[in-house]
């Protein structure tokens, strides 16, 4: 007689390990969605969202304990839990008529949290703060020794700046939860600059390689308030120190990082539907060292419909990107996804698909991103 055993937490933990290794192992990358719009700046800001939140356009991020956006939401974690987010994206770039297709695999966030007392939950993890993975090929002609020489430059950067977070969320009453977090911003990029000449008989190819290490610290605070049993609001604030870039042990640059603040609202419209939205500001314009840095504002709106065990999600987002010549670059996105609990609710798989359209002066980017997330509660 065939017997069916009920899965326990070990299956979920094993799956988490497998997915984590699969994501980190081949690529060794902890990066978010990169963009050509981040090349001439500090990078492309990461999205501090789990797959669940990102499938709703980011609208549920302030209320999702596994999105590293707010700390107060950790107070809702009742058991030791962990979540990992990963994704692969296909990007098409149209730069003044020059089109190219790019592809990247990303592992943008991981959160692990658990209660230490009945009211206090400690959590941590990492997420992508700025992505600095790009490569550009530049064809040019330079005048050398009185003769025009065709040259090809290839400048590459591979890596990201990650945000390591240690946070505490506490419920101060039945309606109010607060949270604070300490952030260590760290990471590195492997960079190379290569110039080759069409005249290979006389000119040698030159290649410079190095590794840039980044470091900064930050702090965050947030609160979450239940206005009614169905209506919840949240607000958050974050500030960071200057971002230091070191090459070979020497500091080569220091740049301000923005203050980040925002607010969100979530409405539970019955047992099988929730709506949420949020707005975020970041004063990237304060980065004095970058000529074309802009303050950014973004908003998102999304819904989660269906049973908590297998919900359907969708959302829309719009916002601005911090670095770009002339007008502030914009970003518009649509997303949707599914979630599925397994192992008796000890684990959950989330999948999502996102379409982003970015526009800057003379440049358009279209991005399809497939996301996969796993959450376990051993």
């Amino acid at each position: 007689m065939m017997t069916v055993e009920r899965s326990d937490g070990r299956t979920a933990v094993a799956l988490l390990v497998v997915v984590t290794l699969a994501a980190v192992g081949p690529s060794g990358r902890l990066a978010a969605q990169d963009s050509q719009l981040g090349i001439r700046g500090l990078g492309t800001p990461g999205k501090l969202e789990s797959v669940r939140a990102r499938s709703t356009g980011g609208a549920f991020a302030p209320f999702d304990a596994f999105s590293p956006l707010t700390d107060a939401t950790l107070a809702d974690v009742r058991r030791m839990s962990a979540s990992v987010t990963s994704g692969v994206s296909w990007r098409s770039v149209d730069a003044s008529g020059v089109e190219s297709s790019l592809r990247g695999t990303r592992f943008p966030a991981m959160v692990i949290a658990g209660p230490v007392t009945r009211r206090i939950v400690v959590g941590g993890g990492f997420s992508t703060y700025l992505d600095r993975s790009f490569g550009v090929i530049i064809q040019d002609t330079v005048n050398l020794r009185g003769v025009p020489q065709a040259v090809t430059d290839e400048i590459r950067s591979d890596g990201a700046i990650s945000d390591l977070r240690l946070a505490v969320g506490a419920r101060l009453g039945s309606r109010l939860a607060v949270g604070v977090g300490l952030h260590r911003i760290t990471g590195s990029t492997r960079v190379s600059a290569r110039r080759s000449f069409a005249d290979t008989a006389n000119y040698r190819t030159t290649t410079a390689k190095d590794e840039v290490a980044y470091g900064a610290t930050g702090g965050s605070a947030s609160l979450m308030f239940d206005v009614t049993s169905d209506l919840r609001v949240a607000g958050w604030f974050r500030t960071d120190s200057r971002l230091r870039a070191d090459v070979g042990g020497h500091t080569v640059s220091e740049n301000d990082l923005p203050i980040n603040y925002g607010a969100g609202i979530q409405w539970r419209a019955g047992a099988q539907a929730s709506l949420a939205g949020n707005v975020t500001w970041r004063n990237w314009g304060a980065v004095q060292s970058i000529a074309n840095a802009h303050d950014t504002f973004s908003w998102s709106l999304g819904a989660e419909i269906g049973s908590p065990a297998a919900p359907f999600r969708f959302g829309v987002r719009s916002g601005q990107l911090p670095f770009g010549v002339g007008k502030t670059p914009t970003e518009m996105g649509y997303s949707g996804g599914l979630g599925r609990q397994f192992a008796g609710g000890r684990g959950r798989l989330d999948i999502g698909l996102e379409r982003l359209q970015r526009r800057g002066t003379g440049l358009t980017e279209g991005v399809w991103t497939f996301m996969l997330g796993l959450t376990v509660r051993p």
Partner: protein
Amino acid sequence: MTRRLGFLIFLVAAGGAIWACTEEATAPGSCPNYCPTDSIAIRDTIFTAIIERDTSFRGYVPSYGAEAMTAADLPGVIDSRAFFTTDTMFRRKAPNVGDTTTVPIFVDSSRVRFVIVRRPKSTTNLRLHLYRLPATTDTTSTFSSLDPAFTAAPVDSLNITDLLALPALTDTQTVRQWDSAWGVSASDSIRVDAAGNVLQFNHLDSTITLYFKLDSLQGTLSDADTGRIAWGVRVAADSLASIGIGTNATIANTPVMRWFYHYTIPDTVSATPDSVVYAAATLGTRFHNFVFTPPAAPVDSNLAVGGVPSARALLRVAMPAFLHDSIDVVRATLILVPVNAVQGVASDSFKIVAHHISTDLGAKSPLDPSDALIGTVFVHIGSPDTVRLEITNLVRQFALDSTLTTAFVLGQVPEAASYPEVRFYSSRAAAFRPGLHVTYVKRFRFGAP
């Protein structure tokens, strides 16, 4: 449960497959708006005082150690004559293996072979004259001491231009048989003049092999010299008479003499007549050399390269610190200003090699065995133009390895095979001193936004 498990496996497999995809993050840059702030900056500088303590030395390779001999007759420029001596040839021979008695040999004829490794293609009426020299010629022989022999009547002459104009004998069997008899590399044709002199054209390297045919009066064995013979060669032409003759430094091109003789084996045990045996003996080069006038001028304050005996110039490079630290050299050219245009014929143009030295011991500095750290350039006869010698690999290595000896030697290739010599202004001549034209890329400013 089974469906759930299948769903999970599907998702994990899909995820793994996607993660296994390769990255592609490089796109054509849309500059300057969407390119890195810094760019690869290239600089071009002529370092006029970077070459210092440069000097010349003569005497590395003598003319009798060269891989070629020059025969030239350029009035007002050079008169060069080549010669070689053969190995010993005995007049008696043991008729059979193991015999203790010997019989005399009788020379029927002989051939003298030369390989022309360099010749002017546009010369007309190019002739070679063969002279018999004293068998005692050696390293002490000079142009003047050999002049009486070289100004006597030639033993034989042949006209290379006329031979080349003759119809070629391309019969495979004949060509192969000739090649086999002389042990030479495959040639594609043979030409024979009325006197029996032969010309072979080697299609592999465009060399010409000449075989003088001498009768028994022209090629006579000298018992006093134990059969050694010295042959000298002069060249003549309507103009541009200058050729290079191979020596035993390259085995295939060495001058050779071949004796054709007969001897009789006496029959002492039967009534049959004595038998006559026809044979040949090939003799290699015992010594070779060439003499010329006017002789090479002694080295002076300029940088002499080439000539006979060969001269080399040693140049030391004072590398600025910034060339070591913060740049990447993409091209480096040594600039040398000749004192005068080199005289001669176009085919005497020669190659100069800049060769790194392992350690600086002045004239006796050993050359670096690495073939990578060299640069080459051709010096053209009659051209007073500035010589530009590409030494990019050398300077790149200087920049990368601060322990390397930053010096190199300029030498002619092949050395001492011909009379031309070039002289460049040294660092003593402030206006024309050697310079180094360096194109380099500055270190990219990584880490900046």
